[in-house]
C-alpha cells in the first residue's frame, strides 16, 4: 500500500528530519499492514531505509518539495514523486529514448509528460534496486489516457492520481499472485 504525507510548511527541513518523517510513515504502514513495530526499520550508511529482518516486505520511499511517500509491498516496488515544474531540456536529452522523444514532442503538456517519463524510469530503478544507475534511455514507455505501456514485461506501472501538484509513478516487479489488483494502487494519508 502507498502512504503519502503532504508537507505544507514553508520551513526547510533537514535531511534527518525528513528521514524521521519517512520512518514514521513506514512505521504507520508496518503496524497497519503487518503488525510490526518501528524497531524493525534500519538505515544504511547512505540513509536509505530498509527492513533487514523481513526481506519478504518490499519498501520504497520518495520525497519531493511538499510531499513524502512510502510504498510497502509483498513484491519489489518502486515509488517516485516529483512536484510540477517546467520542462528541462537537459533531463529530456538524458532520459528519453528515440521513440519516447518522438511521443514527447507530440505531447500537449510537455512539462507533465517529461515528469511522467522521469518518475516512471526512477520508479522502475527503485524497484530494481539500482535507482537511476541503469540504462534508462533503453527502457521504452508510452502512456495515454488508457494507461501505461512499456517494453519491460516483468514490470507493471501506474500513475497515482493524488493531486494536481505532483506526478507520482509506481512500479511493481513480478506482482502476479502476490498482490491483488484491488490493493495495487490503494493509497492512504495517515
Amino acid at each position: 500500500m502507498i502512504y503519502l504525507l503532504r508537507l505544507l510548511e514553508k520551513e526547510k527541513r533537514s535531511f534527518e528530519e525528513l528521514k524521521g518523517l519517512k520512518k514514521k510513515l513506514i512505521s504507520y504502514g508496518l503496524q497497519r499492514e503487518y503488525g510490526l513495530s518501528p524497531e524493525e526499520i534500519e538505515a544504511s550508511f547512505s540513509g536509505a531505509l530498509y527492513l533487514k529482518k523481513y526481506p519478504e516486505i518490499h519498501l520504497s520511499t520518495t520525497g519531493t518539495k511538499g510531499l513524502l511517500g512510502v510504498a510497502l509491498s509483498p513484491c519489489p516496488v518502486g515509488l517516485d514523486a516529483e512536484h510540477r515544474r517546467p520542462g528541462d531540456s537537459f533531463v529530456e536529452k538524458k532520459i528519453l529514448g528515440e521513440k519516447e522523444a518522438f511521443w514527447y514532442r507530440k505531447a500537449q503538456d510537455k512539462d507533465e509528460a517529461l515528469l511522467k517519463y522521469f518518475t516512471l524510469k526512477e520508479a522502475y530503478g527503485k524497484a530494481l534496486g539500482t535507482g537511476l544507475s541503469y540504462d534508462f534511455r533503453n527502457t521504452g514507455f508510452y502512456f495515454d489516457e488508457k494507461g501505461i505501456k512499456s517494453d519491460l514485461k516483468e514490470a507493471e506501472f501506474y500513475f497515482l492520481d493524488f493531486c494536481e501538484e505532483f506526478i507520482i509513478s509506481l512500479c511493481f516487479l513480478d506482482r502476479r499472485g502476490k498482490l491483488s489488483s484491488e490493493e495495487t494502487v490503494k493509497f492512504i494519508l495517515p
Partner: protein, 76 residues
C-alpha cells in the same frame, strides 16, 4: 572545476557558495533530488563536452568526488 559544479548547484538549490565544499553531499546536505541531479549532469556534459555514464556515478557521495570523476573524464 569544483567552481563550475558549485555554480551549477547554486542554480538548483538555495545555498551560499561558502557552504559548498568538496565534502558537501548533494543529497544529504542540499536535498538535491534525482531530477535536478540528472539535469546538472546533462548540463555538465553539454558545457564540458564530455559523456557521463550515470552508472559510474552511483558510488560518488560528495561534490569533491564528482569533481574528481569529471576531471578524469576530461583527461581521457
Amino acid at each position: 572545476m569544483l567552481s563550475i559544479i558549485t555554480n551549477l548547484v547554486m542554480e538548483y538549490v538555495e545555498v551560499e557558495e561558502k557552504d559548498l565544499t568538496e565534502e558537501t553531499n548533494p543529497v544529504r546536505d542540499l536535498h538535491l533530488n534525482s531530477y535536478d541531479f540528472i539535469s546538472i549532469i546533462g548540463r555538465l556534459e553539454s558545457e564540458l563536452g564530455i559523456d557521463i555514464n550515470e552508472r559510474e556515478l552511483k558510488n560518488l557521495e560528495t561534490l569533491g568526488e564528482l569533481d574528481a570523476y569529471i576531471k578524469s573524464k576530461m583527461i581521457h
